[in-house]
């Protein structure tokens, strides 16, 4: 196992990628930085459990998904009445500052509307280019589950993209 400083350096090197993934996983942009900080702290604290794994990123990603799910649940509990409509639709409060391009934002919103598990897998698949086998290892599920979940997610995205294309015509 790498020594503490080497481990910290490796974590720091994947920080930007964790931030990008957290931006997809978190319902609110305001939580992104906190979620990444909490993830890095948790990763440092549980360094022993990293063992001899090869990829710090996928290991940190497991923690990230857990932390993001926790923070999203907390936000749902605290949601004020005006947010109920958005929450009922499964759509997180949109942060206009995240994406400048309108078409990209619509696609990203479609990803963010996906159920938690689908969103986690699609994020790893699109952002980190992980294979199904790597995703199954990272999230601790079978390859069959990954196949089925990604298939469902892509079917939803395909429908959303078709709707977007019809709207733009």
């Amino acid at each position: 196992m790498a020594d503490k400083h080497e481990f910290e350096r490796q974590l720091e090197s994947v920080r930007a990628r964790l931030v990008r993934s957290a931006a997809v996983l978190c319902w609110a942009g305001a939580d992104v930085e906190d979620v990444v900080q909490e993830t890095l702290l948790e990763a440092l604290r549980s360094r022993q459990s990293f063992g001899d794994r090869s990829s710090v990123l996928t290991w940190a990603y497991v923690i990230l998904t857990r932390v993001a799910a926790r923070v999203n649940a907390r936000r749902r509990e605290r949601a004020v009445a005006t947010d109920w409509a958005a929450l009922a639709d499964g759509l997180p409060p949109v942060d206009g500052g995240l994406i400048a391009d309108e078409a990209h934002r619509a696609v990203a919103d479609a990803v963010r509307r996906l159920p938690q598990r689908q969103r986690e897998m699609v994020t790893l698949h699109f952002l980190e280019d992980l294979t199904y086998a790597e995703i199954s290892t990272a999230l601790g599920v079978s390859v069959g589950t990954v196949k089925a979940t990604i298939f469902e997610a892509k079917a939803s995205l395909r429908t959303a993209l078709c709707a977007l294309q019809k709207e733009s015509r």
Binding site: A22, V32, G97, A100, A148
Partner: protein, 169 residues
């Protein structure tokens, strides 16, 4: 061959099929327009999903995280300011206190002044009564000249004024 399932086509697009199956599906897609269209749509989902998520910029200044940080830092800044003000006040007071001690020391007749350094706590303790005596002598000199009796504080509490009897004409 009959048309492959949508799940197989998704895996084909994602490069998740093994070599023989990939070859078979590739040949079929070239000849089947319906499957060719599905594959094109799935590739579009991947392309647009990837570019949308990679386009996300996490600007913590715009989504309020940084503003909240400032609120976190504000109490710390106030605490630091209080510490600085108290420290400066303490230094100023100590300097002023030192000056008044020097003034008192000037009241001591030259032959009574101690030659030991004032910073020596033992010397300070020994010099203290002398300082008080000299100040008292100087203060009480005017009263003595006017023949006004000075009563020690301990006796003030039990002081009984002399009985004054009216004198007849």
């Amino acid at each position: 061959m009959s048309c492959p399932s949508d799940e197989t086509l998704v895996m084909f697009v994602d490069g998740e099929l093994d070599a023989p199956e990939r070859e078979t599906v590739a040949r079929h897609v070239q000849t089947c327009s319906a499957c060719g269209e599905s594959v094109a749509e799935m590739r579009a989902v991947n392309r647009r999903g990837r570019s949308a998520l990679r386009e996300m910029r996490v600007d913590v200044q715009r989504d309020g995280t940084k503003a909240r940080r400032r609120w976190v830092l504000r109490p710390m800044a106030v605490a630091a300011a209080i510490v600085i003000v108290v420290s400066v006040a303490a230094v100023v007071w100590m300097k002023g206190h030192g000056a008044s001690e020097r003034k008192v020391a000037q009241l001591i007749p030259p032959h009574e002044r101690t030659t030991r350094p004032a910073t020596n706590p033992l010397a300070t303790a020994r010099a203290a009564p002398r300082l008080m005596d000299a100040e008292f002598e100087r203060w009480s000199a005017g009263y003595r000249r006017k023949r006004i009796a000075l009563v020690p504080m301990e006796e003030v509490a039990v002081f009984e004024p002399p009985e004054v009897r009216p004198t007849g004409p």
